[in-house]
Amino acid sequence: MPRLLTGNRLETGDVLWWSGSGWSLHLKDAVDVDADGEALLAQLVPQERISDLALIDADVTPSGWRPRSTRERVRAVGPSVRPDLALPSLPVEAI
């Protein structure tokens, strides 16, 4: 199953997704880190710039990544009860 690397930006708390070469605010930019996940974590954790780093499971759907857990879908979109604050890359209905 595809695995995505995520965390929160230290300065702002923003939810971030690993895009292969850096961090993106948008789930659509995420890449499957596959077997490299642990190595990436081992490299990024000591840098202390991204908090709560985690590898999460996701499915591939025709409209893009769909994290397996509701929690990660909420993180990707924003609070489901404030669609006005949702990130433009994913509709609230995606939760």
Binding site: N8, L10, E11, T12, G13, D14, V15, E48, R49, S51, D52, R68, S69, T70, R71, V74, R75, G78, P79, S80, V81, R82, L85
Partner: protein, 543 residues
Amino acid sequence: MYRYDEYDQAIVDARVAEFRDQVARRLNNEISEDAFKPLRLMNGLYLQLHAYMLRVAIPYGTLDSRQMRMLAYIARRYDRGYGHFTTRQNIQYNWIKLAEAPDLLAELATVEMHAFQTSGNCIRNISSDQFAAAAADEIADPRPYAELLRQWSTLHPEFSFLPRKFKIAVTGSNIDRAAIQLHDIGLQLVRGETGEIGLKVLVGGGMGRTPMLAPVIREYLPVADFLSYMQAVLRVYNRHGRRDNIYKARIKILVNDLGAEEFARQVEEEWALVKPLGLDPPASELARIAAHFQPPALAADAPVDIDLSDPAFAKWVAVNTHPHKVPGHAIVTISLKAPGEIPGDASAAQMDLIADLAERYAQDEIRVTHAQNLVLPHVRRADLFALWQALAGAGLATANLDHASDIIACPGLDYCTLANARSIPIAQKLAVMLAPQESDLGELKIKVSGCINGCGHHHAGHIGILGVDRRGDENYQLLLGGSGAEDASLAKILGAGFDENGIVAAVATVVDVYKTLRTGPEERFLDTYRRVGPAPFKEAVYG
């Protein structure tokens, strides 16, 4: 209202400077996240799902308009234009940037507010009766005692690393609006045999994973001695609380394991050692604090009769106002629960308006309730109509206090990193569904938590809902029969859980069963449940 003296202000200012330095060092990678996180939490700053969340303490839920305007300003300047009033009578902001937090706290300090002791294993914000100093049913204003506790517990070195967090509530009335039986310590002002005021002490209540009602460990404690007695209670807990197991670390577990009698005996033993040390403040200090809480000068000849010919206004007066101890006045509850809206959320514009109205109509006082509403405690009845009109213009005149759509809901999985399930959407759906019939249903308290921590007080709900995780999916348990009032009881799980639509349908069924079983419209849901038990509800919900 209490105003900071030079010591209070110096403590808060020093803490802001200290945190500014800590944040700067973290941003420069001079300290690790592991080292920084406890420091951040000690200043009320959590990392939630989408951003940092700041929890600002509102001591015993009392604010003036100057402070409310600052809360509105912070929502605009540092957040996304709104704040969330919590079940601890605090306010939370959901979109704070770490780099900006020190500036925010410095601005907050200018109105004598801060965010420390809103997290961590310390004595948290002291909560109290939102009708303090106004309720016709109270013995005395509980807030001077709450304020003394605030000062005593602020940065108390012995109690900054307790086995777990510690919550104290104080009330001055037999009608319990502060849920004292569900706190680590509940204090109730009572009169002794000769009429002097003392405190009844309850210890070991709480919600969360192992809900318990607090037993009384002392029926009467002279107020002059109460801080040394609190010191003794905390010492016994600090010494014997279960630091080895986070799920058994609250004082309720200790009191339950020892038994209330043995716990009380150990407290008395400790108190005998502590009392002679002179920890209790002199009477002049309590008098100094009490002087800040002088009741406002209200005219006792203010008119009582008002024009109630507008039915919407009359309904609001009947549902959202309470009798004031001074004739011709009323206590107004401003509902933050318009059906379909997010319980406890207020926009910056709404906060500003409430500050203006408090200044104009309510002696410049505002209270936050543990049910996530706001209160204007001292309003002339003659001003109620103008006040209601102004509130209505801002979506703040919903007449639903303690009714089915006045639902407590924690932030849940929409914001909270500990959550199993979303709470707010359930509350919104239930409120919209039940609002049309809520006048007929009478008092019905629904409370929703997104996880077992119980910030939404589900165990104290007439109807409680608890979000659980079922293999990665949101699932909801239904509980019935709880109360956080003077008739406190713990709600019990009715049966297997439901998905989002299922829990809404189950509540609809429960409400229908109540309507067929009640002896009449005057019998509350809770009383019907207590009379008939869970069986008919279970039968209807699960077949």
